[in-house]
């Protein structure tokens, strides 16, 4: 295991470097763009829902940003990760390398994007006058779960995409749907209890809610809430890993 890790670390690093170079085309602005675009999105949403329609949610800008931050990472990681296996077909049909490395390296650039946006997020939190407490350290937990969850979803989607090329369009629609169902710009506080519980089935909502609880309300969510997040993350990752193991020799025929 350790030997294998050592052997593939160099390849992983080189793949990350390649994906990064290609994504940003060696421009400094390239990296800025990928952070600016979710921020512009945020600004529009804040003007429409916060100012025009008037939301009475406390710290609405942060409420919105929490949702946007997590959703943007999820959307980026899954939509880019989906094609990672197919676009590296010329490599894995010629050289025997572990196929999941392509997805993992693709995820690193999404993660870096997320980290940059997170910094801006904290800047906004400071501007809004929300005090930083030790509880903020707990945010590591949902981030960790989210990374595992995104990797898992990426594994599942990239494997499916090899077999079904129309997954790209289907997932595009699904992503839109998930966005509307994740309570990014609206609040579900006035919803009936049954509807509220249904939202707990959406893993993305859990991550967003965790952020809001800690940052805006300063409350640590219940232990069950932690467990549910971990369960979702491990479930996605487990299914993805199983698919890669099961279809490892099959991918070759479809590319």
């Amino acid at each position: 295991m350790l030997q294998k890790y050592k052997q593939y670390r160099f390849l992983f690093e080189e793949l990350v470097k390649r994906d990064f170079t290609k994504k940003y085309k060696r421009t400094i602005l390239g990296m800025a763009w990928s952070v600016i675009s979710p921020l512009v999105n945020l600004l529009i949403m804040w003007m429409v829902f916060g100012k025009l329609l008037g939301s009475n949610v406390n710290h609405y800008a942060i409420y919105l940003f929490s949702g946007q931050l997590i959703f943007a990472y999820f959307s980026d990681a899954t939509n880019l990760g989906m094609t990672s296996l197919v676009s590296n077909a010329s490599v894995f049909t010629k050289v025997n390398v572990p196929k999941y490395l392509f997805l993992f390296s693709q995820n690193v650039s999404s993660l870096i994007n997320f980290a940059l946006t997170l910094l801006i997020y904290f800047l906004f939190v400071a501007v809004e006058g929300i005090p930083f407490t030790w509880k903020f350290l707990l945010l590591v937990y949902p981030i960790l779960c989210l990374v595992i969850f995104n990797l898992g979803m990426g594994l599942i989607l990239s494997a499916l995409y090899v077999f079904f090329r129309d997954m790209q369009y289907l997932w595009g629609i699904a992503t839109q749907l998930i966005m509307w169902l994740s309570a990014i710009f609206y609040s579900i506080d006035t919803f009936p209890p049954t509807a509220k519980n249904l939202f707990l089935l959406n893993p993305l909502y859990l991550f967003i809610r965790y952020f809001r609880k800690i940052v805006i309300e300063g409350v640590i969510p219940a232990p069950q809430f932690h467990l549910l997040m971990l369960l979702d993350a491990l479930l996605a990752f487990g299914i993805g890993a199983w698919m890669y193991k099961r279809y490892n020799a099959e991918f070759l025929y479809y590319v």
């Binding site: 052997q7 160099f10 390849l11 690093e13 080189e14 793949l15 470097k17 390649r18 170079t21 290609k22 085309k25 010329s90 490599v91 894995f92 049909t93 010629k94 050289v95 025997n96 390398v97 077999f163 079904f164 090329r165 129309d166 997954m167 289907l170 020799a249 099959e250 070759l252 025929y253 479809y254």
Partner: protein, 252 residues
């Protein structure tokens, strides 16, 4: 003699049919109407051979004989449907040299990426990069995007990287015909060095001249079937030439 590679009764089925690129909707419809067909094409059927240390095996046969498929199984990219492959040592495969490089990366970056794929370490690449670029005669192109290179230059780079290590098993698929005359000579010399270093090498070539010159064993495949295998290089090559001329396989 130390046996390094043992391939026994290997059969490799290749999935073919109209299942590719059909999308989820079409896939569902075809399953519902029982119109979904996948055929298994036997690309390689019941092939056995073995290779010792320091030997070079030439694989000959026409297009579609199953040579590349067999090599993919030996290098671990494909799994045989039946039979077994036993490797005692690392495999370094050079299949279709030019592919797998990235056009947007520079020559140096591509060299590192390829080195990583072949299982080298970073320290090893740091040490060797100068030598690789020099051997490929690409010194003045090192910082240029890979897509600006000619096909010959691309193959030269690939060969330089792959020929660096001394793997236990080296697979060469049509790679000795790389580059111009001068480079070909250089690469052939390098090849003999590697074989001399004790590697077991598999060479796929359409040049019988090359096979006669370099190989100590020959495997002849035709439409996935093993026609002949042995160290009688001259005899098998002659039989193959005869087959090419008459279209009939004379039983040895």
């Amino acid at each position: 003699m130390e046996k390094i590679l043992e391939v026994s009764h290997v059969t490799i089925g290749y999935k073919i049919g109209d299942f590719r690129d059909i999308g989820l909707k079409e896939w569902t419809v075809r399953h519902l109407t029982r119109n979904y067909h996948v055929e298994i094409f036997q690309a390689v059927h019941d092939v056995s051979f073995e290779l010792n240390k320091g030997e070079m095996l030439g694989i000959i046969g026409g297009n579609g004989a199953g040579k590349s498929t067999l090599l993919k199984a030996v290098s671990g990219i494909m799994e045989p449907t039946a039979g077994s492959i036993t490797r005692r040592g690392g495999v370094s495969a050079l299949l279709e040299l030019g592919s797998g490089f990235d056009g947007d990366l520079t020559v140096t970056e591509n060299a590192y990426l390829r080195g990583a794929m072949l299982g080298y370490t970073r320290a090893f690449m740091d040490e060797m990069i100068g030598q690789i670029i020099d051997f490929a005669e690409l010194r003045e192109f090192a910082g240029r995007p890979f897509k600006q290179l000619s096909t010959g230059m691309q193959s030269r780079l690939a060969f330089s990287i792959a020929s660096l290590v001394q793997p236990e098993i080296l697979i060469l698929d049509e790679v000795l015909s790389v580059g111009d005359g001068a480079f070909r000579e250089k690469s052939a010399k390098k090849m003999r060095e590697i074989i001399g270093g004790g590697a077991a090498t598999i060479l796929v070539s359409h040049s019988l001249e090359q096979v006669r010159e370099l190989c100590s064993k020959v495997l002849w495949l035709n439409r996935g079937e093993q026609i002949a295998f042995g160290s009688d290089v001259e005899g098998i090559c002659a039989g193959y030439e005869d087959f090419l001329a008459t279209g009939r396989i004379a039983q040895p």
